[in-house]
Structures are given as C-alpha cells and as structure tokens.
Symmetry: C2
Subunit: 134 residues, 2 copies
C-alpha cells in the first residue's frame, strides 16, 4: 500500500474490504441518476479519490491503481460518497466527463434483455479510437 | 444447481460469473433512478428472476437462494435487465415495494461522508421489527 493518503477513521472502520482488500464501487451520475459502471477500489484508491476528488479505482486486470480517464480523458469527479448498510459496497455519485464506457457509450450497462435477446440500447457517442489514440 | 429454469442462451454466454459462480447485481428503482442495493446472483438466481419476474439473489451469508422480500414482504419486481460491457456486473431495474434495506430505509446506501464523518441521510421508514416480526 503505497498511498500517501489516509482514510477518515470512521469510514475506514465502516468499509468491509473483501479477502483481496477490495470493495465494489458503483458510479452513478449525480444529477441524472444514470448508473454508469461498477469497478473496484482498494484502500489506497479510495483514499486517493477522497483526497483528490477524482475517482481512482483498482484495476484487477492490470493490478494497479486506475485513475479513471487517465488514457481516455473521460474522468469522473466525486460529488458524494455513500456506503451501504453492511459496508461492503460503495456508491459514488460522480460527475462524468463524456462517456464512462471504453466502447464510447455513456454507460457500461448499454445492453438489455429484449425477448430473450441482448440488444444494444445506447449509441456509441465517442469513437473508441479517439479516446485511446488507436 | 437445482434450478428448474434455464437462462436465455445469449445471456448465459454473456454473463461472466466469477470463480464462485456469482455476479454482482445492482438494483435500481426503474423510475426514480435511486440505487437501492447491491447483492449477488448465481445462474439459478438469475434464471429464476427472469422466469418469475421477481428478484431472487444468492445469499452468500446463508448459502442459499434469497427471494428478496421473502421474510419482509419488501419484494422487487424486475422491470428491465441490463448487463455491462464485460459481462461481470448486472443492473436490475426494479420496482421496489416499500423499503429495500433491512434497517427499514428505502436504500441500503443511506450513509454518506460529510466533513470526514459518516452521516445517516435517509430516515427509517419502516420499523425493522414490523418487517421481520421481531
């Protein structure tokens, strides 16, 4: 844990990190109520988020801190932090710049079940190549 | 897996259940946008939910299917099922009867960080003893 930031003691005591030191964090656009994505935080990611006001997750696939938008510019600013009754899930009320999803859609939850089939319900708003310089 | 229900094939292929056969499911009130809770589903819980239209989770603490509201009467009806870009999180758009939280609050995310302290931001709407017969 190389974080230079500390968590508020009451929050630190309340968060039930799992066996891998992670807690799921739901990102919701603060004003519209859109659920944008779900990702994971460890203690350092949460502490950095609170210290900077910019959402930082823990990337399980890359095994490192992931400052949302660090490649794409599609950052999330923290507006409010909520924690659930048993402390094992966080709800981040955020202000999302542009699109949350790496596919260029506003939300990662763009597929819905319709008559037993998965349909894409949201348009691609940004070309992923423009987000990642591909 | 004792489920008598099957998942639609396309959905079954899309859901990335974890090593324990579970996937996190976020419940959001379909019209207001409130994020109510996050719980887990296994394949049987998801299949039952789709077959019945009533949300069924997998209770990790009790190690069994958990038909939301089976004790409290505070059921969730499925309005829409969404899945995220990498298939490892579900978003359930639901119609929540009464309160989602076992504490009697509308949402489990009733605590928020205010000046470094956790504050309770939602009232108890239902006495938990009235929900669980305590």
């Amino acid at each position: 844990m190389n974080s230079t930031h500390a968590l508020p003691a009451e929050l630190d005591a309340a968060v039930a990190f799992d066996a891998e030191g992670l807690v799921p964090a739901i990102a919701q656009q603060h004003d519209s109520g859109e659920v944008l994505m779900m990702a994971w935080m460890n203690r350092a990611a949460l502490a950095e988020t609170l210290a900077t006001g910019r959402i930082c997750y823990w990337s399980r696939s890359r095994g490192r801190l992931w400052r949302k938008g660090e490649s794409s510019g599609q950052v999330q600013r923290l507006v409010d932090l909520r924690i659930d009754c048993d402390g094992d899930t966080l709800l981040l009320k955020v202000d999302q710049t542009g699109v949350a999803c790496h596919t260029g859609r506003r939300s990662c939850f763009y597929r819905g079940l319709r008559n037993g089939r998965l349909e894409e319900l949201m348009p691609v708003e940004r070309d992923p190549r423009s987000l990642y310089g591909g």
